[in-house]
């Protein structure tokens, strides 16, 4: 996301009347990834609609200059929260470690769960170092977190596909309800 941010900022310096090449594929790509860049909280990127309606950007801007705490401190906290959440996400998927499904499916589930745990573990030190040294220039070491993001995304898709594949043969008793929940009213 740092890389995308660098691309965004280089393409569009913060000026109001910059002509943008609407016919180029870069235009399309930037428009697609724009929400994710501000979702990650690294930069406030104002859409013209938000400016016209005089709204506060709901996301982003945590790295902006502020007197109360240095930007790198807030960016580190965001990075830490995101990585811990990712590790917890993968850890809970490891609860499906021994679920009865096909052998290949089981191996895939385990590999994808471990990939989701390990990707934030790899991202955290690299980007924490970049934030701490305040040096976001592209380097060769950036390959590690970017590849981690790609692996994380692929692992997530694999997990979703495996969930839908498990519907082919659900274990007997899947539709049995817990005994004591019946008398209690619930949604």
């Amino acid at each position: 996301m740092f890389f995308l941010e660098i691309v965004l900022i280089r393409l569009h310096p913060r000026q109001v009347d910059v002509e943008s090449p609407t016919d180029s594929w870069v235009y399309f790509v930037v428009t697609c990834i724009y929400p994710f860049a501000s979702l990650m909280g690294y930069r406030t990127l104002n859409s013209s609609r938000a400016v016209n309606s005089r709204r506060v950007p709901s996301l982003g801007g945590y790295g902006e200059n502020c007197v109360y705490s240095p930007p790198y401190f807030r960016l580190l906290i965001i990075l830490l929260i995101a990585c811990v959440a990712g590790i917890a996400f993968g850890g809970i998927h490891c609860l499906g470690w021994n679920f009865s499904q096909g052998h290949a499916e089981q191996i895939l589930w385990r590999a994808a769960s471990l990939a989701i745990i390990s990707a934030p573990v790899l991202i955290l030190p690299f980007w924490a170092y970049e934030i701490k040294t305040d040096n976001f220039a592209p380097r060769l070491a950036d390959v590690v977190p970017i590849v981690s993001i790609v692996i994380y995304s692929i692992a997530r898709v694999i997990l979703i596909v495996l969930i839908f594949m498990s519907f082919r043969s659900p274990p007997p008793g899947t539709y049995d309800t817990v005994a004591w929940t019946n008398p209690i009213p619930h949604f």
């Binding site: 007197v67 917890a88 809970i92 499904q101 969930i163 498990s166 817990v178 005994a179 929940t181 949604f187």
Partner: protein, 131 residues
Amino acid sequence: MGGFMLYVDGKRRATLRPDELLLFILHELVEMPVIVEADIEDRSKGDRLSKTIAILQLAWFVLQLVARYVQDLPVTLLEVDTLALVALAGIAYCFWWKKPKDVGRPYAVYWKTTASPPRQLAYEYVVNVLS
């Protein structure tokens, strides 16, 4: 959140960033806003009920999952995935617990007419690719 809206000569300019607001206050270009916590909570619209319902549903799901595990009923992969999403929702709820919901109006900050108004504010910049 509505933020702090700067008004110059009765017309609204843009929402201020924290550093901009502080700079204007230090140079005595705007008045210091006096806001207590109750004022901020008053802006929130009926959020407590919806938050309680959502948390009851999450707790009900987790409770049922634990009960299924205890009673040796099969647990599906979809439920494991949902449990992971519940954990993420729990983290998000912790951080947004005190955020007022659906604030429509910003807090108005008026420019003192003696000084010349700022040329451009941070939130007036536009990412041109989306215009």
